[in-house]
Amino acid sequence: MADETLDASGLNCPLPILKTKKALSKMSAGQILEVISTDAGSVKDIEAFCNQTGNKLISNVEDGGKFVFTIEKV
């Protein structure tokens, strides 16, 4: 179960990433953030974001045009 949920539906690059960064910065290590996005580009981008920042992408599920990412903060 996620500690926080961020709904970035309808937002386009780079807003889902910027909002994810902001949400994570308010959380503590080990907590889980769920990000919902409708921007298809965010699939690659969230992955790249986690790669670079060290946060852990636990899952990435597409659900009827919505992309749901589960990220664990480092």
Binding site: N12, P14, L18, K21, D39, A48, Q52, T53
Partner: protein
């Protein structure tokens, strides 16, 4: 968060039209979100991007053949047509067309959930992107420092080199 020196990134922003205002702020804000330490050096027309009032920024279709021009509203068949290559360039010299096209581009961006220019810029500042305005061009073009947003440093080319001395990610836009 990394505090490595090679994590620094700089951008030189030289363009002052509405369309070209976006790339520096998009790349800078995303860079900081990905733990880079980012400085933007605004020079020549790029200084326009630091004005408090950005409502005068325009995109010009005149002599801009790479610009797709599609309607942001209306029936689907109409929205698919790219008017860019169909409209003779001479028409774009009619007064008011620049404002019209800028308005249409803003509509298109809003429809696609693209951030507003001011919001992206605010986010850059919130994320501590450093904004440096080129002092020489501020004076050259007769800008008033009061016309710029708060938090801008005024300095010269040598300061850019100081910022760019470390890191391996430097872009010219």
């Amino acid at each position: 968060m990394s505090d490595k020196d090679d994590n620094k990134m700089t951008i030189i922003a030289t363009k002052g039209t509405f369309d070209w205002a976006f790339p520096p702020f998009i790349i800078a804000s995303t860079g900081v979100a990905m733990d880079k330490e980012v400085t933007i050096f605004f020079t020549f027309y790029g200084l326009n991007l630091l004005l408090k009032d950005t409502s005068k920024l325009r995109v010009s279709p005149l002599g801009n053949p790479g610009m797709p021009m599609k309607m942001p509203f209306g029936p689907k068949w109409l929205q698919k047509i790219d008017f860019g290559p169909r409209i003779p360039n001479i028409l774009w010299s009619i007064p008011g067309t620049e404002a019209l096209v800028t308005w249409l581009m803003k509509k298109t961006m809003a429809k696609h959930g693209v951030a507003k220019l001011e919001d992206l810029r605010d986010m850059c500042q919130e994320f501590d992107v450093k904004f440096i305005a080129c002092e020489m061009t501020v004076e050259l073009f007769g800008f008033n420092k009061e016309d710029f947003i708060d938090g801008v440093e005024f300095a010269g080319a040598a300061s850019y080199f100081d910022e760019a001395a470390t890191g391996d990610h430097h872009l010219y836009m």
